[in-house]
């Protein structure tokens, strides 16, 4: 690996006539954890959704491992990009185990036993070994989000995208989800996180990217960002949090 694993290169995105991403550049190295922060409506989530083509872009390019995501077969490229959503989006008609095993079984064509066995291991890894047979409706928000993380991991992606994954959780359930993400970071998973949890951003992020009005306004090593942000926007954003 020479270049970055994920590379946003001059990305322009419009909703109708309104430009929501302006010439966004961002590169993420292998095993790096990049945390994207910024006020609501700054384009953080949209940026993530462009990476796995849930949103299309008008200008620029997005590359995974040097290959343009835009030219690739969408169903193939998405297997390399794990996505975890704010609202979990678990499949309510399937058990936790089936939620995790479905992708490997149907998309990768793994035999049912292999897929189920691996799903069991992944649920164990996110601390849900006892809940494999539960339906999402019977799980807490924190448990559901951990199943969703296991579901994304089951496809063995090269990079994981987390879109405000703790924003819909009761405060006491945030910790269990963040613990799982920290464990992934420790295992060397490449990750891009959009979050409002600044303490967590500081703890887990290698680099902080601050977005405002569809632009990247600052990108810095985590420690220096929180200690002495380089830009006015950075200082402004931090001062509002304190």
């Amino acid at each position: 690996m020479t270049g970055p694993l994920v590379e946003f290169d001059g990305v322009d995105k419009f909703f109708g006539d309104e430009q929501v991403l302006h010439d966004v550049d961002l590169s993420v190295d292998e095993r790096e954890v990049v945390v994207v922060i910024g006020p609501s409506g700054s384009g953080k989530s949209t940026l993530l959704r462009c990476a796995n083509r849930l949103e299309s872009i008008r200008g620029g390019d997005i590359r995974l491992d040097g290959r343009s995501v835009l030219d690739a077969n969408v169903n193939e490229i998405r297997q390399q990009i794990g996505m975890v959503f704010q609202s979990f989006n678990l499949f309510p008609h399937k058990t936790a185990l089936e939620n995790v095993a479905l992708g490997p079984r149907k998309v990768k064509g793994l035999p049912a036993e292999t897929a189920t066995e691996r799903a069991r291991e992944l649920l164990d890894r996110v601390g849900l070994a006892a809940q494999t047979g539960s339906y999402p409706g019977g799980l807490s928000g924190g448990q559901q989000q951990r199943v969703a993380i296991a579901r994304a991991l089951a496809m063995e992606p090269q990079v994981m995208l987390f879109d405000e994954v703790t924003s819909a959780l009761d405060p006491e359930l945030v910790g269990e989800v963040l613990d799982v993400i920290e464990g992934l970071a420790a295992d060397g998973m490449t990750m891009v996180l959009v979050t409002h949890e600044m303490g967590f951003a500081r703890e887990v992020g290698d680099r902080i990217v601050l977005m405002a009005d569809g632009r990247v306004v600052e990108r810095t090593e985590t420690e220096s960002f929180f200690d002495r942000p380089e830009t006015d926007r950075g200082r402004q954003f931090l001062s509002r949090l304190l």
Binding site: R78, G82, F85, N89, H93, T95, S134, G138, L139
Partner: protein, 293 residues
């Protein structure tokens, strides 16, 4: 049950009024039952000829009509739900052409009377062949099945489209994010949920399909209403065969709602079979254990 505990724990003015409304409602309902029941009892005791009612002759004729209707309903049901699924999928197609065609189909078959559609198929279609050339000699029952299927597929299609629309967009996004194609995501994730959402509406429509078979009397299908008309004109006694008609339709429609209820229960994931049901069983056992210690 909830109302009972409420009225026990609270006897405020608002609740008094609630209770009054409830009592009035009960009185109205009871009065209605008494009036209808009385009328019914009077008809059954004065108008119905019980010898004719239980005579093997009319029993056999109604039985034949009944089994014919059951067969027509079974076939039209399966076909209209299957075809309706295609119509519903057509309605949500990403292809503009398919979407418009499905919409047009629904507009036509919901917008014209079933009787008109039956006439087109039964009287109109054979005339497209030169006289005497139409290859199917007993066209009434096939025409009936085709008409019922085409008509009810439109309603089933709308129910399925509604069921699909009610599945949150995030379900499709989550499935696609795993690398599923749109077709696979529909099949594995969206449709099972849409089916459950649509089941009540589909069941409703299929019960209407049962009753719509009564229209088949005008295209010479020897179904239940035809038997009635026949007996009524021979015996000049409407009430006796009407009892038969009423009971036979109710037998079919009530079996149908039982079937739909069963299907609904089966697709009610995560409440009985899931964690909640399991947990509630567990916690009640735990409670017993606590009492013992």
């Amino acid at each position: 049950m909830a109302t009972q505990t409420e009225s026990e724990s609270n006897a405020g003015g608002v609740l008094m009024r609630d209770r009054l409304v409830k009592r009035v409602g009960e009185a109205v309902a009871a009065g209605f039952v008494l009036a209808i029941g009385g009328l019914l009892a009077w008809i059954l005791s004065t108008q119905v000829d019980y010898r004719l009612l239980s005579s093997p002759l009319i029993a056999r004729r109604f039985a034949e009509a009944f089994f014919l209707v059951v067969r027509i309903v079974a076939i039209s049901s399966v076909l209209s739900v299957s075809f309706g699924l295609l119509v519903g999928l057509g309605r949500i197609s990403t292809s503009d052409v398919t979407g418009r065609i499905a919409k047009g189909y629904v507009e036509f078959f919901r917008g014209t009377p079933l009787l008109f559609q039956l006439f087109v198929i039964y009287f109109g279609v054979p005339r497209l062949w030169a006289t005497g050339q139409f290859p199917i000699s007993d066209w009434a029952v096939p025409a009936a099945i085709i008409g019922l299927t085409l008509n009810h597929a439109a309603y089933v299609g709308e129910a399925i489209r509604g069921g699909i629309d009610a599945v949150p967009e995030g379900q499709m996004e989550a499935a696609r994010s795993l690398g599923m194609s749109r077709v696979m995501a529909l099949r594995e994730v969206v449709l099972p949920q849409a089916w459950r959402n649509a089941l009540a509406a589909i069941g409703n429509d299929q019960i209407i399909l049962v009753k719509d078979t009564s229209l088949l009397t005008v295209i010479a299908v020897p179904e239940i209403m035809s038997v009635f008309r026949n007996i009524n004109s021979n015996q000049l006694d409407p009430w006796t065969p009407l009892v038969w008609v009423c009971v036979l339709y109710l037998v079919i429609t009530m079996s149908m709602s039982q079937l739909v209820n069963g299907l609904e229960r089966r697709s009610d994931w995560g409440s009985d079979s899931g964690m909640l049901g399991w947990l509630s069983g567990l916690s009640s056992k735990g409670g017993d254990g606590g009492d013992n210690s």
